[in-house]
Amino acid sequence: MLHLIIFSVFGVICVAGAVNLLVQRHPINSALSLVVVMGALAAEFLLLGAEFVAAVQVIVYAGAVMVLFVFVIMLLNAGEEEHTQGSRVARLIGIPGMLVGSLLMAWVLLEHSGTQSVAAGALPGPPKMIGWLLFHDYLLPFEVTSVLVLIAIMGAVVLAARPESVQRKKEG
């Protein structure tokens, strides 16, 4: 019972944050809503017993990635967005379509997927087990992902660095 209450509270916070993210006009408010979503998700992980994943969720997403988002918004001094009225098609078809779609999905998940609700702490993920999985059972995928991330970082550096010819022109 307590589990259900805590789950619902954080679930509502999570969804409210996500809706707020779309509704807010100022980029910094949107970014902060995303932080709230990340925090609420971490709480849900914690509820399942996956304390390591929850901590990493907070440290990496809320603590590092979103700080960089906020940093960029501050640096560019991005102002408020201008909202247009939106197209009538989107309002007439989009909103009912979304409602029907999500209802359909909820119905299928509840009635036909054969999954049941998960009890509190049913999916434990102690750091040792995750380490074992990452560095033993799934070593190759892990290393391949590392190389992929490295390539992405190098690509970002190459794209961000100004070409030498431009630099020389400015100096000369």
Partner: protein
């Protein structure tokens, strides 16, 4: 232990911890003014009470009764929230810090720690990484150039040094094999050859300790890395536009963070609540004495550095963090892992 006793014990512990922490914050400020005063051949506070000991109280009263000015050009919701965010996350980290062994009080056997969780270290890292928002949002929402530059500098600096800070801790984690702060301290019991305590700093983690020390100074925005509030160029940095209690909250957050950093250094590198391995037995078993003594020494070092070193330039700070400290931390980590692997 029944649920009622658990809640009662937790509440009592939380109240004690908060009171002790806030008092410690107030008297760290006093200690700093006194020590820096003596370093600069001054007296420091002397007027309020003996040795100026009541100065923190007078300052507190002053902060509460000052006019709370909100400049007209600020973005109000975040301007008000920012100091709260900074202070909340600064105070939260104390909840997982173990200050001593298990004790029996009134028939209840309980650890000297608010909550003994098995990912204690990760929780502290997560909470401190969220503390950046207080500073960054204060700088942005103040809508002033000095605040904005201070906030930008602070967040860039904190994100950069967090990496070397985190990596310097991994060596200790490899030695202890656990994220639990209590288990990390327990792994440091005993001695080498009967007289050197088995603290991590003597177990080959001395380089990691200095990396941690340097990164911690940068993380808490202290001299020589206090660029976010460099008064010669930025007035007061991110808290330029704040007054009265809102300013005091940033101030308290800074000192609470210093104390957290000192606690973490004590637990991870200096053997936590374990005392020196000689001396009479009653001195060895004093519950919190050794922990507080180590924290005091660490804070004194903090203040000593502040009274001694000049401020870095911003590009020097960034180059030092990324080009020297980070490779050094990685090298230390690889070496520690190799030694542990070869030993086992």
């Amino acid at each position: 232990m029944s649920v009622e006793t658990f809640i009662l014990v937790s509440v009592v512990k939380i109240v004690i911890a908060i009171i002790v922490l806030l008092t410690a914050v107030a008297y760290t400020v006093w200690l700093e003014r006194k020590v820096v005063g003596h370093i600069q051949n001054r007296w420091g506070p002397t007027r309020v009470g003996p040795f100026g000991l009541l100065q923190p109280l007078a300052d507190g009263v002053k902060f509460i009764f000052k006019e709370d000015l909100t400049p007209p050009h600020v973005y109000k919701p975040l301007y008000i929230a920012a100091p709260m965010i900074a202070l909340i996350f600064a105070l939260t980290s104390i909840s997982v810090i173990p200050v001593g062994n298990w004790v029996t009080v009134g028939g209840i056997y309980t650890p000297l720690q608010i909550s003994d969780v098995n990912i204690g270290l990760l929780i502290i890292l997560g909470v401190t990484s969220l503390g950046v928002y207080g500073v960054a949002l204060a700088g942005w929402s103040s809508n002033s150039k000095y605040s904005l530059l201070g906030g930008l500098r602070a967040s860039a600096q904190m994100v950069s040094y967090e990496i070397s800070l985190g990596l310097s801790l991994v060596g200790v984690l490899i030695l202890a094999g656990s994220f639990s702060l209590r288990e990390i301290v327990d792994a440091q019991g005993g001695t080498f050859w009967g007289f050197i305590p088995r603290w991590n700093i003597f177990q080959g983690q001395i380089v990691a300790f200095f990396i941690y020390l340097t990164s911690a100074y940068a993380e808490t925005n202290r001299i020589p890395f206090d660029l976010p509030e460099a008064e010669t160029e930025l007035v007061a940095g991110y808290h330029t536009e704040y007054s009265a209690m809102k300013f005091a909250m940033f101030f308290m957050a800074e000192y609470a963070n210093m104390i957290t950093v000192a606690c973490l250094a004590t637990i991870l590198f200096l053997g936590g609540w374990k005392g020196l391995p000689y001396g009479p037995a009653w001195l060895q078993d004093l519950p919190v004495f050794w922990f507080v003594l180590k924290i005091f020494c660490f804070l004194f070092l903090y203040i000593w550095v502040r009274g001694t070193l000049p401020r870095f330039r911003y590009d020097q700070l960034m180059a030092f963090g990324w080009k020297f400290l980070l490779p050094l931390a990685i090298a230390n980590l690889v070496l520690t892992a190799l030694i542990v692997a070869l030993k086992s």
